[in-house]
Subunit: 284 residues, 2 copies
Amino acid sequence: MEKILKGKEVADALKQRLKQEMEEFHKKNITPNLTIVIVGDRPDSAAYIKGAVKRCSEIGIECNVRELPKDLGQDKFVDVIQKLNDDEKVNGIMIMRPLPPQISENVVKYEIYPAKDVDCFSPVNLSKVMSGEEGGFAPCTPSAVMEILHHYGIDPRGKKAVIIGRSMVVGRPLAMMLLKENATITVCHTKTLNLAEEAGRAEILIAAAGKAKMVKRNMVKEGAVVIDVGINFDENGRMCGDVDFDEISQVAGMITPVPGGVGAVTSTILAKHVIDACKIQKNL
Amino acid sequence: MEKILKGKEVADALKQRLKQEMEEFHKKNITPNLTIVIVGDRPDSAAYIKGAVKRCSEIGIECNVRELPKDLGQDKFVDVIQKLNDDEKVNGIMIMRPLPPQISENVVKYEIYPAKDVDCFSPVNLSKVMSGEEGGFAPCTPSAVMEILHHYGIDPRGKKAVIIGRSMVVGRPLAMMLLKENATITVCHTKTLNLAEEAGRAEILIAAAGKAKMVKRNMVKEGAVVIDVGINFDENGRMCGDVDFDEISQVAGMITPVPGGVGAVTSTILAKHVIDACKIQKNL
């Protein structure tokens, strides 16, 4: 049994499966297309986009990046989304968030076609994550967590899963996805009292708080599976997760590193969603 | 401090607030309208509808019941919903579930206008419950639970809340609503191991499993707030909840009875949602 859950290994295995699926597409002369929409430039988005473009290209997915001016009005933004919705060549649309303040996410999220919404921006896809209904797209990051668990044969059924963090992009959807796979779920957050006690009961502990090295020895049960979703930078400017890896890797049964853990899987999940979207749209 | 949390008391207090709001409507000569749609006749629905009609009438809401033949086709059903959507006199639409097998809930749920969807059938309202966004309608039963907590001054913030049951009408939305109010939430279900241990840690325990008297002494912490959402019938044909009331009322700090607990509040919540829907539609 492996102790360090390697994101690259999970991503590579998924990539191989996707490449096999792509062979069917090639026979039919179909190239799936992902269009990434970004308003203004944010350095953190740039790194994400670079990774997504690279991964898509490796798999054979066409990937366009639409960079829009940072002062673009909401109506113009909606026009862009609607054109992409109607463009038959576009199979998946990913909108980089957060959007600038003049564009209200709570308004524009209704515009994207659910069938092209590969990162769960649409309320329709969100509701499917909540109800466990098939045929939608969950957000890429919690999907990456589930992919890691599946790859390493970790079945959440009947397990005590504790999620630290309740964001709409990770904590809440992941809670619903683990619940669907029959885990007993607990969601902790900044208002949780006795976080160490709650986290310390987890057989599967998910750290998605966005706070560098906040998961310490007293918060982890011996032998627990620890999945670190955090991407932070420590006092020396080095990338680190929400988990104090040096300390926790001594006690955890399995643990994802940062970098090289969850973050290494998300862009391949995105590619999978684009392929799935293309299949649905082309009735393949 | 009261020990028995009385649904009637909560409902009556809410009813008084709603009647005050109605005075503003009367001045403007507006009568909110709820239309309940039922396909075929189900005895359990009949009791619910009777209660809803009575409560609406007491508050001054017009309530129509549309009984449709039990073999109605899905297209015809959708026609009915679309007509109600477009009918300016109708402010709230409640569709009794479950629907008969020829009508797919996963298809027709997209048809109801979210702004008229007073019991959270629409995925748009469901996504708002998940994200904690204002301006939507949560399902009436979990809203009734929250109303009881608020009425009796029980603040979920920082509290350990355990929900037994993961249905889409109670367990999951209630988990999200308690999370929004800063509880640390745990969702248990039929695949949970050590249910007694999990439930026994709750400061607020919600029983929504749909199994008569399944919550026993060993599952409740001394002094806990116990909310019983179950409506079942015991071996003598008497209505009872999911909680063994005689046993648990000895140890709980506060407890809702069945009947006379959550069930006594839902129809007043429904009336509130109709009034809220009317306000939104009329820009009041």
